[in-house]
Subunit: 242 residues, 2 copies
Amino acid sequence: LTCAACGVRGQTVCAPLGIAELDIVESFRVGSRKLGAHTDIFSQGEVGSEVYTILGGWVMLYTLLEDGRRQIVDFCLPGAFIGFQPDLDAPSKHTAEALTPVELYPLPKRGLLSMFAQHPEMAVRMACIVARDQVFAYQHLASVGRRTARGRIANLLLELFVRVRQSSLEASGDSIHLPLTQEHLADALGLTSVHVNRTLRVMREDGVLAGNLGAFSILNPDRLAEETGFDADVSIPRGPAG
Amino acid sequence: LTCAACGVRGQTVCAPLGIAELDIVESFRVGSRKLGAHTDIFSQGEVGSEVYTILGGWVMLYTLLEDGRRQIVDFCLPGAFIGFQPDLDAPSKHTAEALTPVELYPLPKRGLLSMFAQHPEMAVRMACIVARDQVFAYQHLASVGRRTARGRIANLLLELFVRVRQSSLEASGDSIHLPLTQEHLADALGLTSVHVNRTLRVMREDGVLAGNLGAFSILNPDRLAEETGFDADVSIPRGPAG
DNA sequence: CGCGATTTTGATCAATGTCAAAGGTGGTGG
DNA sequence: CCACCACCTTTGACATTGATCAAAATCGCG
């Protein structure tokens, strides 16, 4: 498959490139790579030599604390760009693990720099992408720091809901599928899986949710959004940064 | 004062520029600006037209939730670059407020894009800077999500300690000055100021801290770092990104 | 059918929040 | 120089959220 046919190009660092310019990306292609669920893409503490665009599947980024507790810092969907860090040669601060089978487009880190040099718009685009992820990180921080368990869960579910709707064309109904366990939610929200479970039950009883993570519905998105002050609007404009 | 004499140039987007190239930055200079403590630099919900390099003083970035609770998402020291966001024309997601009198170097957002176009290395640098801030955000998220009150406080104090030591040449002793109240700590850590107070007392009793935020000492940095698994190493290499 | 991974539930506990009030401290105007 | 005031810090009593420990109940799957 060629970059020209890439389904997520509009969301990636490649977005500013014209069709004709895509060959620079192809020239660094390592070959797209498929990994099974529950495999690590890169690991905390290790030095990786590649960055990745997610072509398909879900990935989570997490940090392991010294006592073994886990904090999931981001869920990544198709179109996400992972592995970029301030010092490319430093060991990674977190682990990227596939939540589903994934398809990745790996790019050698040296290729990345070369691409930036030849197509500066890509560097600007990169900055915008990282800035967007940072906004998400700040929102998560505010959620974990200042919301109640119910608020955090509502917030995260809504966020994933709109992201899934945007990324895939799965734009139908109030029902989506999340490849997550309650423990994943807990580790992303700074809670216990037990407490997540109880809180989900209450939310079901209150009629705002239905079903389970595998295939659940947000019965009352508006009410949920209202009770949690959810802000869906985090995007990168077409013309990079302007 | 000229960019050539800038004390924080090595940490900013300008770092990749040679002395001779600095005039492009100067050409967009709005004039350096001084603000008093407790004034807003830009505000959540409003569209700003500038980004800023902090030349001197402390700034905090915070989000206000719908119920009025505050989450501080970052403390910014001289050399920091604030106001950049994925969509430059979108309203800001957070407020930047001066904690001390500050001196800023404002840059019109359009100037930023123009600079990126003419000096692509600056865009790469920008991406690295944002990526570094993102790593901090992830670390804070892990701290707030998974550490005990004492761990969070220890972690933040250590982080600020090394940042202060690095940024200013105030490299002496175990004592630093923080222009923060206990409420600031609380709002950054997802705690209550009352609880921060109690926890600080215990830490003083345990002999790891001394003094107050205005001028406090870390009596036992190693013990503190050990008990909280603190990781000081978040940096951007000289040659941008490689 | 049987097994490992989730989900669910109960009982209990610890950490942190809430409410309220009493000291401190520095700055300002008289 | 003092009195007063706004803002912090400190402390107490008590409430609550969410954690912990432990065990069933389910579910997906080979």
